[in-house]
Amino acid sequence: MPAPDAISTPSPEPPRRSPQPGLSRYRRPYLLAAAVLIVLAATNVALEPNFLTFGVAASNLSAFLPLTLAAIGQTYVVLASDIDLSNGAIVSLVNVTAVTIIDGMHGSIGLGLAAGLGVGLAAGAVNGMFVAYLRYQAIVTTFATGVAFSGLALWVLPQAGGQVPASFYTSYAGSYLFVPTVAWILIAASAFAALIARLRFYHSLRAVGGNMQAAFQTGVAVARVRLAAYVISGFFAALSGLALVGETASGDPLIGGGFTLSSITAVVLGGTALSGGVGSVLGSVLGAFILGLISNVIFFAQAPFAWQGLIQGAIILLALSGGVVIARRSGD
């Protein structure tokens, strides 16, 4: 349908959730994001020739990793046509919990990591219980739980601070078998996501996101699937909060504040539809990298500092809207 036509005739909206979009959109919603990422990376190389050296690549990856992990988690919730606005608050809560325990227990790193993961899983479960079982609206619920989680983070650690043993952050910033630790974390997270994608749960998740009523009628345990999506989101938010411990070597109760909207942006940039059912974790990883590289490119292009925010906002708006429009063109 030509674009002007869509405006002049009020065409009835095609049923969004029981469609026959082209296979390209179903199978490879991340292709566009990959193309954008390649263009950005090429620009980055042109502006900063040592972009591809081991050290710079590792430090970029290390800077992008926390948001990438949070975006992976957000993807599962969005695939079920829900949303997680508490995502950034969980990142903060896990971050301060882990640091406080590691600091207070004289370097008991294992306990701190375990507690952080436990907190993330529990927070996700709380969201999931409200949305899936009590049938609360996802936006309102996760906003409210997010405020409460932020409060808990401030209770655990009122001000940024705390310390973790040097062994923690040196091994986070270091390498293992010639591969940076941060790359191992990303590989492990991707392997985990690939594993989930092979489970029947993942098909159920996309069915729930595509058409909840139909999924229910064909015997999918809708509530359990939505709960699981929130728990997975909490798990990845926890990984993100722990990665931030390695990155900053301290705790900050406000550190995840910007992650909520950024993770949603990354998910959409990666080609996942907010209406649910269509998308991929790979796309979200690419989306998070795109966000990181946009900042890089603007910085190395030496844009005047005052203009950087506006340029960044405009590029992201273009990428977001362009992605949606092109995905639909190739899909319908």
């Binding site: 009835p12 909206e13 409210a144 909207l261 907010l274 950087q308 925010g309 506006l310 429009v325």
Partner: protein
């Protein structure tokens, strides 16, 4: 009797009103003077600021198709900044400043509306992108340093008591409430908003100009954010960077507490006004109680969840 009470309790406006009165009572018990007229007036002023933002949010949400406007907070900040710099404490500059700011905020909202209708970008995505652009523009204009001050006339209009010790801003809010009630119930445009929100396909077949109506709700949301920016400037006198951020998500919550369905097509502005008062009162009660910041946030979140138990839940899936 019980059945009647049940019917009443199913109405969000009733629930919100009861919740407001309950909060006042609890506040008065815990901290005598909380429900004093002076305190209530202060709360109404703060609620008016949130309530005017929520007016635009309400229209967008009523229009359906997952309508939501995340850019409202950034437009409030931008408008307050622009208004302050165009006025520069001079009454003579005020009319021009008000017109320029309202036009600017209307156009920003319209741009979102065009993206949502012509390019069919989901509202959350479109307004999330717009939020980044407006915040970026604000950094460019302010260079990170707040500037601009309200014209004395504006401060007087907003803050000086007019009637019953109530300052002007409260009457402006009530006037907006009345205007919106008329708009939604008595004008074709208002009825069209409900029509496209309830069933877009049916509305289109009935001849409702769907894209124009929806785009206009976004433009009006921008406009109301602009109004709030000006009122905020008048209330605080000068502007701090990011002053509007605090309105983004609470404006959505006020609409939901007021009983407008996030699915669109159902609800109204009277409930939203009650929702705004409730949110402000809840925050104020937690501040008065001298609870540390973390406790305030936890209680705030938990109270919202408890209130949501009464309504706004999804239907049970049926086979």
């Amino acid at each position: 009797m019980l059945a009647r009470a049940k019917v009443l309790l199913a109405r969000p406006l009733v629930v919100a009103s009861i919740a407001i009165l309950a909060l006042l009572a609890v506040g008065e018990v815990l901290s005598p003077g909380f429900a004093s007229p002076r305190q209530i007036v202060t709360q109404l002023v703060i609620a008016a600021l949130l309530g005017v933002v929520a007016a635009g949010q309400n229209l967008v949400i009523l229009g359906g198709r997952e309508g939501i406007d995340l850019s409202v907070g950034s437009i409030v900040s931008l408008s307050a900044f622009l208004a302050g710099n165009l006025m520069q404490q001079n009454d003579a500059n005020m009319p021009l400043a008000v017109v320029a700011v309202l036009a600017c905020s209307f156009l920003i909202g319209l741009a979102s509306g065009i993206g949502v209708t012509m390019l069919r970008i989901p509202p959350l995505v479109m307004t999330l992108g717009m939020l980044g652009v407006v915040n970026g523009a604000l950094v460019l204009l302010t260079r990170g340093v707040p500037s601009g001050r309200a014209a004395p006339l504006l401060s007087q209009i907003v803050s000086r008591p007019v009637l019953f010790d109530l300052p002007g801003i409260v009457f402006i809010w009530i006037a907006i409430g009345g205007a919106l009630a008329l708009l939604l119930r008595r004008t074709t445009f208002g009825i069209n908003i409900y029509a496209i929100g309830a069933n877009e396909a049916a509305a289109a077949l009935a001849g409702v100009p769907v894209p124009r109506t929806r785009a206009l709700t976004f433009a009006l949301s921008g406009l109301f954010s602009g109004v709030t920016g000006i009122l905020l400037l008048g209330y605080t006198g000068n502007v701090f960077v990011g002053a509007g951020d605090q309105y983004m998500l609470p404006s959505i919550i006020a609409v939901v507490i007021g009983g407008t369905s996030l699915a669109g097509g159902n609800g109204g502005y009277t409930g939203t006004m009650a929702g705004a008062v409730f949110l402000v009162e809840l925050q104020s009660i937690l501040t008065t109680l001298n609870i540390p910041a973390f406790g305030r946030q936890i209680v705030f979140g938990v109270t919202l969840l408890a209130l949501m138990l009464f309504y706004g839940r999804q239907r049970r899936l049926k086979s």
